[in-house]
């Protein structure tokens, strides 16, 4: 689903953000991406969302490969990869309902389908009762749920979350995390960046990828860091356009 092969990303001024990173998150898998601030977590997520391209190596997300993807294919990729930001990135002048509907409108969902889908998405994240609230009227946890509903609007195959609980109190953080777990159980791959050691400790069954100074120093499932994982080819070459959507609905 998400495959990094010897990926290095260097910036002209700051040098390497990540170096020679190799890992594979399989279809339906949940993985934590952890490390200190500046370790390269956000860079990994940006690369997986094709917000930037590797300097060396290749990133493969579903059938899209960073070495071959065309600019016009990126919107299609982004519909299949939901992204949850730590700082929400909601449109302040729109209600929770409208923020979710916005994602549906701009990706060409027929107008008559929008209302029903927004209703379903907000119910899924437990926020149906706050549909008419503006972001400023919502708590941090509630805003993160709106962001999650928006990220799910295009029925993605993968959810990338960049410190989604970083700005939340423990109770709200746990609520958002449990939401991600539920989404994952429905079949969606989730790669969640976090530096919350307690959260990782409490969920020891979840795979952990740890970055340090841009290098992958620990993978709880890998036999040795920096080598390719075995048995990871189940989704290679598959066309997400033909994948059953019910599994994440």
């Amino acid at each position: 689903m998400i495959r990094f092969r010897n990926v290095t990303k260097r910036y002209p001024r700051t040098g390497a953000a990540i170096e020679n990173v190799t890992f594979h998150v399989r279809k339906g898998e949940f993985a934590f991406l952890t490390g200190h601030s500046g370790a390269g977590k956000t860079t990994v997520l940006h690369l997986a969302h094709f917000q930037t391209v590797p300097t060396e190596g290749q990133v493969q997300v579903s059938r899209y490969n960073s070495a071959r993807i065309k600019r016009r294919q990126i919107p299609d990729l982004r519909r299949r990869v939901g992204y949850v930001f730590q700082d929400f990135k909601l449109l302040d002048q729109l209600t929770a309902w409208e923020n979710v509907a916005f994602a549906l409108h701009v990706t060409g969902t027929p107008r008559k389908e929008v209302d029903a889908r927004v209703q379903r998405l907000l119910s899924q994240v437990g926020l149906a009762s706050k549909a008419r609230s503006l972001p400023e009227e919502l708590s941090g946890g509630e805003r993160q749920r709106v962001v999650t509903a928006r990220a799910l609007a295009t029925d993605p195959l993968v959810l990338l979350a960049d410190e989604p609980t970083g700005n939340l109190d423990p109770r709200a953080a746990d609520g958002v995390f449990q939401l991600f777990r539920t989404i994952n159980r429905l079949g969606m791959s989730v790669l969640m960046a976090t530096h919350d050691a307690d959260l990782i400790r409490r969920n020891a069954e979840i795979r952990v990828l740890e970055l340090e100074h841009g290098r992958l120093v620990y993978d709880s499932e890998a036999p040795a860091v920096g080598t390719e994982l075995a048995g990871d080819g189940e989704d290679s070459g598959s066309d997400p356009a033909t994948a059953p959507r019910e599994e994440i609905a």
Binding site: I69, D76, K89, A103, T107
Partner: protein
Amino acid sequence: MRPVREALASFRRAPLLGGLSITAIGLSLLILGLFGLSAHNIGSAISDVERRVEVVGYLLDDVGEDQVRVARAELEAFPEVEEVRYISKTEALVNARRDLVEFSDVYQDLEVNPLPASIHLRLRPGYRDTKSVEVVAQRLAGYQFIEEVRFGEGWVEQLFALRQLAAGAAAILGGAFALVAVLLIGTSVRMAILSRSEEIGIMQMVGATEGYIQRPFLVEGAVTGLLGGLIALGLMRLGYDLLQRRLTGFEHILWLPETWIVAGLLGATALGGLAAGYAVWRELGKTYAI
């Protein structure tokens, strides 16, 4: 309809910015339009002179009427020739007496008509350049009964050079002012993009296509170009009418042909759309990194 609705909403959101852009583009296009008006009048004056370009063949005295008739038919069949006129010796004398009043006494006392008959060829538009005139002159000179051919060699060349110069100047200045308009529209659209960068960023993140994001800006650019063109046209017409009333001699100055006006407005609209398209394509490209 969404692109139009959003483009209009953008003007409502930032009326000052939109108004300034339209005015600046209008002024730029006004200069372009004034140059167009000058070019049209210069072109018209040159065409007037060009219409008078004639190739004249003077005939020997003993040429028979049949020979002239056959030659006329052949000359009329030349693709370059628009009109063939034959002026007999007698007509030439009548014309001379009429046109050259100061020599009327000389022409009154003649016992023998010294003026030759002549064939005058007027050329079609597109064949009034030096090369075509020379080709026709050579062909006319090829007839045995033609004694001499004249076509004002020197001034035909100068006329052609003048037209080339006018066309070159029009292209350079027109291109320069069109570039100014493109830069203004591009800047205006970039500012509109920046003012909506948060919204556009989210659109890109959730997978809106570039076309979907671009269309309102294309419409905005096209509308800006069109409104700028209309302002330029209105100001020009206002100035033209004012000068027509106030300045003697200005009545000879021609207004722009309708086809030029329509082409100008369409051009301004297209220019606006293209400038906006390029600007938005570049701005969006920065976040795609591909």
